[in-house]
């Protein structure tokens, strides 16, 4: 456990080495959120609610989705792909730790850094300008926290899965880009899932994407209540566990196929 904590620390140090990225990061997130706010006010156009969400809830939904994304988002897939492409994976495999486990922990370090140094200040800045509605219940916040942790786990698992595919294909930038876009679209980041047509909503029940962004955002805006919160969390937990199997299976196959490039 010690070594994993140490890795979180190292990741913090590495993020601090490139601070400027993160100042611009805050700005980009603020612009994104503001743009979505204006878009949605135009769409609502005076209507008090759409699909059971008020404009205030919608604004909060968008702001929270983007700020949550700062926490769960990471580039583990690209990092793995790069390490395989330039052969650095060899160095990782001579260390007495689980390669994928260590990668996940690095993602967590990065996520925590962004949560504290990007999301929270970003949220403060945004709440000065936009009418965000935050729930008063401690229970909602607690559920949201748990839900966000699940989001991170599911997102990272998908990334590890995509990264491990590189062991077989060597070049899969296209695949990784497609995966990223699909997640942004189907996770409910851009549009809440309740706005999708019924058939699309039903189809998405079978994919893990909504567990990444839609569920935590619905919880914090209190669009989910009571049993819906519990079901949402259960669904997330299930995906966390289900996704472990293909990762384990692919990883075992991948190690046999590994070719270390460049000497």
């Amino acid at each position: 456990m010690d070594k994993y904590m140490e890795m979180v620390r190292i990741r913090f140090l590495m993020m601090l080495a490139y601070r400027t990225n993160y100042y611009t990061g805050i700005l980009i997130y603020a612009i994104n959120i503001a743009a979505y706010y204006f878009l949605w006010s135009a769409i609502y156009g005076g209507k008090s609610s759409m699909q059971g969400m008020s404009l205030g809830q919608m604004t909060t939904y968008v702001a929270i989705s983007w700020l949550a994304r700062a926490f769960y988002f990471n580039n583990l897939d690209r990092e793995i792909a790069m390490e395989i492409r330039d052969g650095k994976v060899a160095v990782e495999l001579i260390r007495p730790y689980s390669y994928l486990g260590m990668k996940a922990v690095q993602g967590l370090g990065e996520g925590l850094f962004r949560l504290f140094f990007l999301s929270l200040p970003g949220l403060l800045v945004v709440s000065l300008f936009l009418p965000l509605q935050f729930p008063g219940h401690a229970k909602t916040w607690l559920s949201f926290g748990l839900s966000l942790l699940f989001s991170f786990i599911i997102f990272s698992e998908l990334n590890l899965l995509a990264g491990v595919v590189t062991f077989f294909t060597f070049r899969n930038e296209g695949l990784l880009r497609a995966k990223r876009f699909i997640i942004d679209l189907f996770s409910g980041l851009i549009l809440p899932l309740s706005f999708y047509p019924d058939w699309a909503q039903r189809a998405m029940m079978y994919f893990p994407f909504q567990a990444i962004s839609y569920i935590p955002s619905m919880i914090i805006t209190e669009s989910f209540k009571g049993a819906a919160v519990r079901d949402g969390l259960l669904l997330q937990a299930t995906w966390c566990i289900v996704l472990l199997f293909p990762i384990g299976w692919l990883w075992r196959a991948a190690k046999k196929r590994l070719v270390v490039q460049g000497g």
Binding site: K3, A90, P96, K255, V259
Partner: protein
């Protein structure tokens, strides 16, 4: 006890062949053709504890592939490997605690953070106690003279400084077995000397077994009593460096600098019956005689009697050349 035991080890790679031209590129989209390349082809050897073994071969001979199998990174196609009493890729996480590895072409320190932060992480990773760390690493840091570098980020180090830090990083857990894959590549002479001296001390003090690949024969000469030579995935020589030299490097090189131009035919005729081969040297009027054992005085006296000489130099056949000769002939005679 043997630190490394390898029997009938083999590694095959599937290599995709690209068809040529645009049409070929389109056909590659549908079906790909593969050939099977044997990077390591049925090799067996054992390394005793405390030995320093040089593992040499041309580029692509299979050295790095072997090292990667011995360190548990690659899975062998077939054959048996036992290193430190374990099967490297089966028990990878437990196994790698007992080895240290340096890849000369690849950094294992974190690029953007200070060297000591990397050390600190590795110390945690290998569960080294503070007490052990202070004692052992104190020595290593002193011997490699890297104390002043510890608080600098890796990207600010020169190659020589970085390589010494890499070496220290590989030794944090004081492993009984050390793999070095081209540790002196691209380094200047002083750093090379420092590293060689350090490796020798390490071997003497802790009995560390070292397996080293290199293209620099002076590394091998300075460190290894035993060499294993690889060509196209097969072992073509395994034995002492001395024996290799005796068998292949018999005789001496005598370089004559003549006062005036001479011809090869003239020199050949002069040393008729002595079995001498003449080659033109790199400078003008320099000729090098490859003389069989015991023939040097006779050759020198015959040449000196007939020609005006400016200089005579006598060398052993350098190991580089021995190795080159072996590769050119492809197999070891005798």
């Amino acid at each position: 006890m043997n630190a490394i035991e390898v029997e009938h080890l083999r590694k095959e790679f599937k290599v995709h062949i690209s068809r040529s031209g645009l049409v070929g590129a389109f056909r590659d989209l549908w079906t790909r053709r593969y050939t099977l390349v044997r990077a390591v082809d049925d090799i067996s050897f054992a390394v005793k504890q405390g030995e320093i073994v040089g593992y040499i071969g041309e580029n692509g001979a299979g050295k790095s592939t072997t090292i990667k199998m011995l360190t548990g990174i690659l899975t062998p196609t077939s054959g048996r490997i036992v290193v430190n009493g374990m099967n490297p890729h089966k028990e990878r996480e437990k196994f790698v605690r007992t080895i240290g590895v340096v890849f000369g072409q690849r950094s294992q320190l974190w690029w953007d953070i200070a060297v000591q932060e990397s050390f600190r992480l590795l110390k945690k990773v290998y569960r080294v106690s503070d007490e052990q760390y202070r004692r052992h690493m104190g020595e290593v840091i002193e011997m490699l003279e890297i104390g002043p570098l510890l608080d600098k980020p890796v990207r600010k180090l020169s190659l020589g400084q970085r390589m010494r830090c890499e070496l220290a990083a590989a030794l944090i857990h004081n492993p009984p077995l050390l793999f070095l894959d081209e540790p002196t590549i691209g380094l200047d002479v002083l750093v090379k000397l420092n590293i060689r001296q350090f490796l020798k001390q390490l071997n003497e003090r802790y009995g560390t077994t070292i397996l080293l690949t290199t293209h620099d024969m002076s590394d091998i000469e300075a460190l290894c009593e035993r060499v294993i030579m690889l060509d196209e995935g097969k072992i073509i020589y395994d034995g002492s460096l001395e024996r290799l030299k005796e068998r292949w490097g018999q005789g001496k090189r005598v370089a004559f600098t003549f006062a005036e131009a001479v011809t090869a035919a003239f020199l050949q005729q002069l040393t008729e019956g002595l079995g001498v081969a003449w080659k033109k040297g790199e400078q003008s009027n320099v000729w090098v005689a490859h003389v069989p054992p015991g023939g040097v005085p006779e050759v020198v006296s015959r040449v000196a009697a007939r020609c005006a000489l400016q200089d005579i130099r006598i060398h052993e056949v350098p190991t580089e050349e021995i190795v080159r000769n072996i590769y050119e002939e492809g197999a070891v005679r005798g």
